[in-house]
């Protein structure tokens, strides 16, 4: 929990409103929920934006329900309680735990070349979420963004032209950002990233190899 006080790079208000309003693609929501598990600043903002939703609901016009709606609801209640999930010890925040099937040890990594590995997580198709494993000191090649990309650091740190991103930090990159992230020396870097641009594996692999070929 130490990293909470050290988080320097936060989500944008636009993303937080989208999360609170419930309009983000699932992959983005996963990154947001994971960051909110580590960052009370963004969590407070998200809850404030939920309060807007609350006041909209409260002042909304009403729609009549079926005459037996209350009785039907009470009957459903009588049928039993909601099963609560058992708490599992994990090295990742709860929202991510469900997607990786436990902890980082359980991730099924796929090599994408030069020591960099990734694991695409199963979400709805409007955006893609994946875990990235970048060995200490390795370069994630220069890449532009076609849409929005959120990158949350889970372990280690990376640096690009804009700043240093450590555990808990999230980088919000839009189309105008072209950058070359480099994992810091000392610890391998693991990130959770989501993008709403289509993932192009074919072009990604040669591109990732490029900087190394140049060395």
């Amino acid at each position: 929990m130490n990293e909470m006080t050290q988080i320097k790079h936060h989500l944008t208000d636009q993303i937080l409103i989208g999360y609170s309003a419930g309009t983000l693609p699932e992959a983005f929501s996963l990154v947001v929920a994971t960051h909110l598990s580590m960052c009370d600043t963004c969590r407070a903002s998200a809850q404030a934006y939920e309060a807007i939703g609350g006041s909209i609901l409260d002042t909304e016009t009403q729609t009549t329900l079926e005459a037996d709606a209350l009785a039907g609801t009470l009957a459903m209640i009588a049928k039993g309680s909601i099963a609560t999930k058992p708490t599992v010890v994990s090295d990742v925040p709860t929202p991510l735990r469900d997607y990786v099937g436990g902890s980082l040890r359980d991730v099924k990594w796929r090599s994408v070349g030069m020591g960099v590995r990734q694991a695409v997580l199963k979400t709805s198709k409007t955006a893609t979420a994946r875990l990235l494993y970048i060995p200490a000191g390795a370069i994630v090649p220069d890449h532009g963004h076609r849409g929005t990309e959120l990158t949350l650091v889970l372990q280690g740190a990376f640096r690009d032209e804009t700043a240093l991103f450590s555990a808990g930090d999230v980088e919000v990159a839009n189309e105008d950002l072209n950058h070359t992230p480099v994992a810091e020396i000392g610890e391998d870097c693991i990130c959770l990233a989501a993008t709403d641009a289509p993932l192009r594996f074919n072009s990604w692999i040669p591109r990732i190899a490029q900087p190394f070929l140049r060395i």
Binding site: G18, G54, S55, T63, I77
Partner: protein, 218 residues
């Protein structure tokens, strides 16, 4: 204190109008969570108390009253979000079932009842209409030894009311734009960041509540 006392109020807010001594008494009683005693001082129509009664006593009367107020609003919200009347009806009932089972998770120092129900309805919309999962942040709950303080609850509930008042004071065009975002009619990149609402105080109150929670978890 004065600022709190002269606030005009709807359900849940009459406590602010109590004389200070009464308020203080209410506060102490609430902290002990002696519901039966609180009932004598506090009128029944506070939604926070309704949820407590559901949680502690499985009180169906409290549930029926909450249902009467919120279910028609939830149904309207779901229909504006694109649900057909029959689907909205079904989902509304499921939202209210969730409310019953999760009443113990409601934390009045972090959300108004309307806000909490909004989050349940929103998640139902994502699940039923958009067919997506909704990742939620790690749950933070008060330990068995601790409870939120009554003053935190009152301030938070008051702040929620202020947002509602500020919403109605917005130019209608701007209010409609915000509503569109919450009904799911705008993508995140179309959302305007400037809401024109005074959210600074509620954000700092929520941060305070979260840091207190973190402390009790240690």
């Amino acid at each position: 204190m004065l600022k709190i006392l002269d606030r005009p109020q709807e359900p849940g807010a009459f406590v602010y109008q109590l004389p200070y001594i009464e308020f203080r008494r209410f506060q102490l009683l609430y902290q002990k969570a002696i519901i039966s005693v609180v009932k004598k001082i506090v009128p029944q129509n506070t939604w926070v108390q309704h949820l407590r009664r559901i949680q502690l006593d499985q009180d169906q009367k409290a549930f029926a009253e909450l249902f009467g107020y919120f279910a028609p609003r939830v149904k309207a919200f779901l229909m504006k979000s694109g649900a057909s009347p029959s689907m909205a009806e079904e989902c509304t009932q499921e939202v209210m079932v969730t409310l019953w089972h999760k009443a113990h998770l409601f934390d009045p120092s972090r959300a108004s009842v309307a806000t909490w129900i909004f989050t349940i309805a929103r998640n139902k919309r994502i699940d039923a209409l958009r067919k997506q999962r909704r990742p939620e942040p790690e749950d933070l709950q008060w330990g068995p030894e601790s409870e939120p303080e009554a003053s935190d609850i009152l301030v938070l509930q008051q702040e929620a009311n202020l947002i509602t008042q500020a919403m109605s004071a917005l130019p209608s065009q701007q209010r409609d734009l915000i509503k569109k975002a919450y009904f799911g009619d705008l993508s995140h990149s179309e959302i305007a960041v400037e809401t024109g609402l005074p959210l600074g105080t509620i954000k700092s109150r929520l941060r305070l509540a979260l840091s207190k929670l973190r402390k009790t978890m240690k």
